[in-house]
C-alpha cells in the first residue's frame, strides 16, 4: 500500500515515532513498525521544523534552502515520507487490524508443570501465595505429573511445533526437582522421539536449588539442560523471603549446592532469577552478590507479581528506586558491550534483542500461541502461570488445542483491543505486557498493564539509547542478535 505522499498542496505533518539520542547521533524508533533509523543533518532539520506544526513542502524547502541544497531537502522529504515519519496532515492514523495469526502457527516452547508441590514457602509466590489462581493444595489436580502424561506432552509438542526443527521444553513446578524421576524419563523419551521426527528438543528447568545433589547435577550437565535458579540475593535477603515451611532460611543450604552446580555444569548457561519485592530492593547489592560472590553468568531480575495490598507489594516509590538501579546496571552493561565484554544483567540483553529485530507485537506475549503451559493432569493453558486454571485452559495434550477457544483468546488479547495502548509509542515492544500480571492486578488477563506504563517507557528508552550507542561505536556487537 502506498504511503500517503504529500503533494504540493497538502501540508506535511509528523507521524508517529519516538526520537532518542546516543553519542551525538539522533535516531528514530518508528511506531508501529519498530524500524530504527539514524538521521542526518537535513532529516533532523525537517523534523525539527515540523515539530512546530504542519507545513507544506515548499515552505520547508524555502526555510532550509540556506542550510542545505534543494536536491537534498527534496530527497530527505521523500525518504521521511517513505518510512512514514512524516506524511499528509490529513492522512488517517493506520490502525492495526485484529487479525488472527496465520493458521498452523507453530508451538516453539512448552512448559511442563511436573509437580504442584514445593518444599519451600516463599511468601510472595504467585503459585501458593495469597494471589494464587489455582488451589493446588486442596484441589483435584494430581500432585505430580505421571510419566505417561509427560510422554503425551512430548508428543503434543512434536506435533504442534509443526515444521520447526528445534522445539523447547522447560520443566517447571512447584519445585521441579521433586519429580526428578519423571524428568529423567521424559528427557530420554523426548530425545529419542525428536530424533525420530527429524527434530531437536532443547531442555531447560527452573529450580530453587535446595534439592540439588551430585547425581542430579551430573544428569543436568550430561543432558545439557539449561538451568535457572530461583534465588533472591545474599543471605539476609534470601532468608527473609525464600524459606522452608518451618520458616528457616534457605541460603546456607543452596549456596554450596549452587557452587557445585556452577563448577560441574558447563554445557549450558546457568542463570539466576531474582524476584524483587518491597522487602528486597537493593538491586545493585543483589546483582553483585550473585555474579561476583556466587559466580552466576547471568542474572535476570523481575518485580513481584502481586496485588497492591500485600506487604511485599512494591510501592510507586519502590518501583522508581528499582528502575533507577536497573538503569545503573544498564549503563554498566553498555560500557562492557562497548569493549566486547560480557555483563550478566540479562534484562538488557533480552530487551536489546527485541529492539534489534524490530519486533512489533500484536500480543503482549507469545503465551497461548508460541508458548504453552501444561498442568500435571495434561491440561494445556496459556502458560505455566495459568497451568491448572480451568478458566485459562485451551486444550489438553491428548485432545489437542481447541482452536475456537484459542482464537477467542487471541482476539481478546490483541493490541487492537487495548485502547489504552493505542497512543503509546512503546506499544510495538510492550503491547500491554504479561497476561498473568494483568490477571492478578485487574482480574482480567486482557487488561493492559497500566501500572507499568511509566516503567516500560523509561526502560525501553534507556535500552534504545544503549542500542544507539552500540550502533554508533561498536556495531559488530549487535550482530549477535541477528536471528
Amino acid at each position: 500500500m502506498n504511503p500517503p505522499v504529500a503533494t504540493a498542496s497538502q501540508p506535511l505533518a509528523l507521524r508517529e515515532f519516538h526520537a532518542f539520542e546516543a553519542h551525538g547521533a539522533r535516531f528514530l524508533y518508528m511506531v508501529p513498525s519498530a524500524g530504527i533509523f539514524r538521521m542526518d543533518g537535513p532529516s533532523v532539520a525537517i523534523l525539527d521544523a515540523l515539530q512546530l506544526g504542519p507545513r507544506g513542502a515548499e515552505s520547508l524547502i524555502e526555510e532550509l534552502s540556506s542550510d542545505y541544497p534543494l536536491e537534498q531537502i527534496v530527497e530527505t522529504i521523500e525518504e521521511l515520507t517513505e518510512i512514514r515519519a512524516i506524511g499528509d496532515v490529513n492522512a488517517p492514523k493506520q490502525q492495526v487490524p485484529n487479525d488472527l495469526p496465520p493458521e498452523g502457527f507453530p508451538l516453539t516452547t512448552m512448559v511442563l508443570n511436573v509437580t504442584n508441590k514445593c518444599n519451600l514457602a516463599c511468601t510472595y509466590c504467585y503459585e501458593y501465595g495469597e494471589d494464587k489462581i489455582v488451589d493446588t493444595k486442596y484441589g483435584d489436580a494430581p500432585k505430580f505429573m505421571s510419566e505417561q502424561t509427560a510422554e503425551e506432552s512430548v508428543e503434543f509438542l512434536l506435533a504442534e511445533s509443526r515444521g520447526q526443527e528445534v522445539a523447547h521444553l522447560t520443566f517447571f513446578g512447584g519445585e521441579t526437582l521433586l519429580n526428578f524421576p519423571v524428568l529423567q524419563q521424559t528427557v530420554a523419551y523426548a530425545r529419542r522421539r525428536a530424533a525420530e521426527e527429524g527434530k531437536r528438543i532443547e531442555f531447560s528447568l527452573t529450580t530453587n536449588a535446595t534439592l540439588l545433589r551430585p547425581e542430579i547435577i551430573e544428569w543436568l550437565a550430561d543432558n545439557q539442560i539449561g538451568v535457572t535458579i530461583s534465588i533472591d540475593g545474599p543471605k539476609e535477603v534470601q532468608d527473609g523471603l525464600r524459606v522452608f515451611h518451618n520458616g528457616k532460611g534457605t541460603y546456607d543450604v543452596v549456596q554450596p549446592k549452587i557452587k557445585e552446580l556452577l563448577r560441574v555444569h558447563r554445557t549450558r548457561p546457568i542463570g539466576a532469577r531474582v524476584t524483587l519485592t518491597q522487602k528486597n530492593m537493593d538491586v545493585l547489592e543483589i546483582f553483585r552478590h550473585l555474579t561476583e560472590d556466587m559466580g552466576f553468568w547471568e542474572v535476570g531480575l523481575a518485580p513481584v507479581t502481586t496485588q497492591d495490598q500485600r506487604d511485599y507489594a512494591i510501592t510507586p516509590e519502590g518501583k522508581d528506586s528499582m528502575l533507577s538501579q536497573f538503569e545503573v546496571l544498564a549503563q554498566e552493561w553498555l560500557q562492557c558491550a562497548l569493549r566486547d565484554e560480557h555483563h550478566g544483567f540479562s534484562n538488557v540483553k533480552d530487551t536489546l534483542e527485541e529492539i534489534h529485530k524490530g519486533v512489533s507485537k500484536a500480543y503482549g506475549c507469545g503465551a497461548g500461541l508460541g508458548l504453552m503451559g501444561v498442568a500435571t493432569d495434561g491440561d494445556v493453558a496459556l502458560c505455566h502461570r495459568f497451568a491448572g486454571s480451568p478458566e485459562h485452559k485451551i486444550g489438553s495434550v491428548t485432545e489437542g488445542i481447541d482452536r475456537d477457544v484459542q482464537n477467542k483468546f487471541l482476539e481478546d488479547h490483541h493490541i487492537a483491543s487495548k485502547t489504552d495502548c493505542h497512543t503509546c509509542w512503546a506499544r510495538p515492544i510492550c503491547s500491554g505486557g504479561c497476561y498473568h500480571e494483568a490477571h492478578v492486578q485487574y482480574g482480567e488477563s486482557s487488561h493492559a498493564n497500566l501500572h507499568y506504563c511509566t516503567w516500560v517507557r523509561s526502560w525501553t528508552h534507556t535500552c534504545l539509547e544503549i542500542y544507539g550507542a552500540l550502533a554508533e561505536k561498536n556495531p559488530k556487537f549487535l550482530e549477535r542478535f541477528d536471528a
Binding site: E79, H356, K357
Partner: protein, 122 residues
Amino acid sequence: MKHLKGINQKAARIEAYVQYEAAQARATELDVVALETPKPPHEEDGPHFPLGCSLVFFPGWEADQQGGTAGLCQPVERDLFDCHLSCFWPAHVPDQLNHSPDWTGNCASAQKDWRKLDLIFP
C-alpha cells in the same frame, strides 16, 4: 536511502520494501502488461479485458476456461496471424508475402521474442 540509515533488522526490511514499492510503481507505468498473471494493480479486482476493437469473448481464442492464456487452443501470438487470415479482428499485420517477408525474422519463439516484432510503416 541517502539521508536515513536503517540500523536494525526491521529498518532493513522497510528499506527493501520501499525499494520494491518504487520498482512496482515504475513497472506499472512503463511496461507492457501481458495477459497472464500477475495482474497490474489497477485490475486487481477483476478479469483483464484487453482494450481493443472487440468486446466479444470467444473462449479458446482470447482466453481459456480459467481466464488466462495458458490453455488457449492456439497461442495469443499465433492468434495475431489469424486476424488477417480470417479477418476476425480488423487488426493489421505486415504483408509477409511481398513487402515484409522478414517481419518475424528475429522472432524464433513467439512467446519469448514477441517484443522483437516491430511496427512497419509503409
